[in-house]
C-alpha cells in the first residue's frame, strides 16, 4: 500500500504531524524504531505544556498516540534506514522491506550521546545511566559522578546532590554553557565536587561499577570511587540514514528553517533533529503541524 504521508518517528513531532495529516484527509503511516512517545516517556512530570499543567510523560505520549490512532494514522514499529527520492514517489526502507509514500516527514529526534569508552554499554543498569531523574533514586546515600558540561549535566548534578552522599561533576572544559544560576547553586552545595578540565578514561567494575579513572588536562590521573555514573554529554540527532536527501550541519542536525522544508521536494523535517534554538515539547509539536501542513500543500499541488 502507498501512503500519502509517511512519518518517521513517533515522538511528539511525528505524532502531531500524523494528526495534521489525517485531519487533511491524507493517509498516514508512522514508522517508529522503538516505542511511541520518544524521549518524553522518561519525564516524570511535564509542567510547561499549555493546558496540561501536571501530566506525566507516559500519559502525554499515550494520549497523543491514541489521538493519532483514533484519527486513522497507522503505526508500524520498524526502523527507517533509508529514503529514496523518486520524485512523486518516496521509498522508505526498513530492515525487512520498504514503504512507498508521496511525502515523507523525518521526525526522528535524537538519541543520547555516549562517552564512548570501554565497558560503557555493558555497565548500563549496573552503575552507568543516562537519566538522573529515572535512576537517581537507586543511589541514595551513595557516591556518584555526572559527566558533561551541558545544562542537563548541571541539572542532574543538582538533582543528585539531594539524593546521593556525594556528587562529582566531571567536565572536559572549565566552562559551562549557560545555566549560570545552576552552576552557582551547585558550588554552594557541600557534597558536590567539580573536576574540571578532566575526562573519564576508564570504568572499573567487577559485576557493577566501582570506580572511574579521571584524567586531567595537566596529565594527572586519579581513581575516583563511585557507584553511579550519569552521562550527560549531549544528544545526537538521528539523521545519519537520510543524508542522501537532506542537508546536515556539522553536528548532524537537519538544515531546515522554521518552514521544515529540505532540499528535496516532498521531504520535510520536524522536531529535535532539525537545526533550532529551542527544543521543547511545544516546539516539536509545532514543527509537526508545520511539516504536515507543508506536506499536504505539496501533495495537493501535485495532484
Amino acid at each position: 500500500m502507498r501512503y500519502d504521508i509517511l512519518v518517521i518517528g513517533a515522538g511528539p513531532a511525528g505524532m502531531t504531524a500524523a494528526i495534521y495529516g489525517r485531519r487533511a484527509n491524507k493517509t498516514v503511516l508512522v514508522l517508529e524504531a522503538a516505542s511511541y512517545g520518544g524521549q518524553i516517556i522518561n519525564a516524570h512530570k511535564i509542567e510547561n505544556y499549555p493546558v496540561a499543567p501536571h501530566i506525566s510523560g507516559f500519559d502525554f505520549a499515550t494520549k497523543l498516540y491514541e489521538q493519532a490512532k483514533e484519527l486513522g494514522a497507522e503505526f508500524v514499529f520498524e526502523k527507517a534506514v533509508s529514503i529514496e527520492d523518486k520524485g512523486a514517489d518516496k521509498i522508505v526502507g526498513t530492515p525487512s522491506g520498504s514503504y512507498e509514500a508521496g511525502a515523507v516527514i523525518i521526525a526522528t529526534g535524537s538519541d543520547k550521546r555516549k562517552l564512548g569508552i570501554d565497558r560503557e554499554d555493558e555497565l548500563v543498569g549496573r552503575g552507568v545511566s543516562y537519566c538522573a531523574t529515572c535512576d537517581g533514586a537507586f543511589f541514595r546515600k551513595k557516591t556518584v559522578a555526572v559527566a558533561g558540561g551541558t545544562r542537563t549535566a548541571l541539572e542532574d548534578a543538582l538533582y543528585l546532590a539531594d539524593i546521593a552522599e556525594k556528587v562529582y561533576l566531571i567536565h572536559r572544559l572549565d566552562k559551562f554553557r549557560g545555566a549560570e544560576a545552576d552552576l552557582e547553586r551547585l558550588k554552594a552545595r557541600d557534597n558536590v565536587e567539580l573536576l574540571l578540565n578532566s575526562e573519564i578514561t576508564k570504568l572499573n567494575a567487577d559485576k557493577r561499577l566501582e570506580s572511574i579513572e579521571v584524567k586531567a588536562k595537566d596529565g594527572t590521573v586519579q581513581t575516583v570511587e563511585v557507584s553511579g555514573l550519569f552521562v550527560a554529554v549531549g544528544r545526537v540527532p538521528e539523521n545519519q540514514n537520510f543524508a542522501a536527501v537532506i542537508d546536515l550541519d556539522d553536528k548532524g542536525y537537519a538544515n531546515a528553517k522554521e518552514d521544515c522544508l529540505t532540499r528535496t521536494a516532498g521531504i520535510f523535517v520536524a522536531g529535535d533533529n532539525r537545526v533550532k534554538e529551542v527544543r521543547q515539547l511545544v516546539t516539536a509539536a509545532a514543527d509537526g503541524a508545520v511539516a504536515a501542513t507543508a506536506a499536504v500543500k505539496y501533495l495537493n499541488e501535485k495532484a
Binding site: G125, S129, F138
Partner: protein
C-alpha cells in the same frame, strides 16, 4: 496466567522456588518506560504457560531491588532454579524480553 505481584514475603515461594523459569519485572509507578513495558509483560504472561511473569515495585520493595542490584528500571531479570541467569535494562521489544529466556 496474569502477572503476579511479588513482595519480600512471597518472593522466595514465587521466584526462588518456582519450578518454571521466572521473568521478574522491576518497576515503579513514576517510571514511564516501565508503564510502556507493562503491556508486553502482560502479553507474555497471558500467552505462555511454560514460564511465570512477576512484577516487583521497587519503591515498596527496596530491599529486593538492592539485593538484586537493580540500578535502573525497567529491569527484567530471569531466574531459573532460584538463580539469576540473565537480565535486561530499559524498554525492550517483546522479542528481546523473550530472548532472555534462551
Amino acid at each position: 496466567m496474569a502477572v503476579i505481584k511479588v513482595t519480600q514475603e512471597n518472593f522466595e515461594n514465587e521466584v526462588l522456588k518456582s519450578d518454571k523459569p521466572v521473568l521478574v519485572d522491576f518497576n515503579a509507578d513514576w517510571c514511564g518506560p516501565c508503564k510502556m513495558l507493562a503491556p508486553t509483560m502482560d502479553a507474555i504472561a497471558d500467552e505462555r504457560d511454560d514460564i511465570k511473569v512477576v512484577s516487583i515495585n521497587i519503591d515498596d520493595e527496596d530491599e529486593l531491588a538492592e539485593k538484586y542490584e537493580v540500578f535502573s528500571i525497567p529491569c527484567v531479570v530471569v531466574f531459573k532454579n532460584g538463580e539469576e541467569v540473565n537480565r535486561s535494562v530499559g524498554l525492550r521489544p517483546r522479542a528481546d524480553i523473550e530472548g532472555l529466556l534462551r
